[in-house]
Symmetry: D2
Subunit: 135 residues, 4 copies
């Protein structure tokens, strides 16, 4: 069992949403923050900065938003629906924008293909949490 899942189940404050949906979203956020940080770096190493400036920028933005959202979702004490809703909405949107951009380069750059996959998974995981929250 992943640490995220174990941490949810051992928290004295029960989770506000379904355990599996929540654990998957936390993991997807941290994985996406990692992939986006790595993709920005890989793009810088490619050298064609003109073509990749937007990709690097969205990678960095998406990494920051996923990082914040992953940490927020790791907290179960005094969970606030409204706070979660705006963070998840921002995160799903960041992943959509970054995933779209990475996909444009996926055919020629494998790191963009992998990163797009991490973004899609995270976007979908955020949407799933929003759904279980009835948003």
């Amino acid at each position: 069992m992943s640490y995220a899942r174990q941490m949810i189940e051992t928290n004295p404050s029960g989770p506000a949403v379904d355990v599996e949906v929540l654990a998957e979203c936390i993991e997807a956020c941290f994985d996406c923050a990692q992939a986006c940080s790595a993709c920005a770096d890989a793009c810088i190493g490619e050298g064609d900065i003109q073509m990749l400036a937007r990709c690097i920028r969205l990678d960095l933005d998406c990494a920051d938003v996923c990082d914040a959202t992953g940490k927020m979702l790791s907290r179960q004490t005094a969970f606030d629906m409204e706070m979660a809703r705006v963070a998840l909405t921002a995160c799903a949107q960041a992943c959509r924008l970054c995933g779209d951009e990475c996909e444009r380069h996926a055919e020629h750059m494998e790191h963009c293909r992998v990163c797009a996959e991490a973004c899609r998974r995270c976007e979908s995981a955020c949407d799933n949490v929003l759904s279980t929250m009835g948003v």
Copy 2:
């Protein structure tokens, strides 16, 4: 002149929004991330965890969101209006929720009073950037 302001003016990509409004928002985001991190710690030091659990939680959430938003706004290359809009909306909301909670304790705890002030300033700075973006 603050570093934030100098960094905006020396960036080869011109700012997407008014320089003063943007610089103020970047500074407010970083200041609020600092104040919220410090307020969470001060609350833990107070000892009355039952009364302050929600405050600590929102402090930590707000610090994470302000941190992500402050870094995003520090980037001017390939600025994306939609990305900025969702991040600023989430940040303004995080500051509003955290500011409201801190204000409830402001009379008895000076750190909550100062932190509420930092949250109010940041919420308003985010709203100002959203306004200049025509949102």
Copy 3:
């Protein structure tokens, strides 16, 4: 294969250290940042703040350091040995201090037991990267 591993292998700049050792350390850093964020929250939910203040504090410190180190290790372009060395040293130490504190509470609190495990794995992963760097 994990995203971290795939991102390493698709980066145009080859990794400065052994791929497996590096991938394991990146994953351990992000996992530990997650576990520590969750453990701080779980401790706040426990209510006995006097006993857990040091644990919460080290959890938050360790999460921040692991987060920074995980992102730094995700970059392969213009890798700087000295930068990596000081970050890995700080991270191993943060994990040791936090792991020691969590272990003290592990018998009575499962979240501290799981978090101590994440800290031990990350400390050891950082030490392994340092070893392959010849430090």
Copy 4:
């Protein structure tokens, strides 16, 4: 008075080191994280990625380390000398490496000149805290 200074003075746990030295270091860390994030972006906007790859990379590393150190220093509860020492050492070193690299470009790029200044100030602020800690 800055928020950082006010937050130190209203924390129920007294500061472990001199208030002014600590406040200056917290502010320098957050300012440097901002300047480095902005400088990485400005470098990407410059277009000459071959010459600036190392600068971008160190900017991103330094921003992450300063961010973690600024948050850690904002905590006064259960302060741990050893944790502070390794974080401050890593931060001073990150600022030295990034400041050196930015300085190499300072003559031709104003954002590197401003960023080098922020790095120097932060390196020196970290060294000052280490000195007052007797390290």
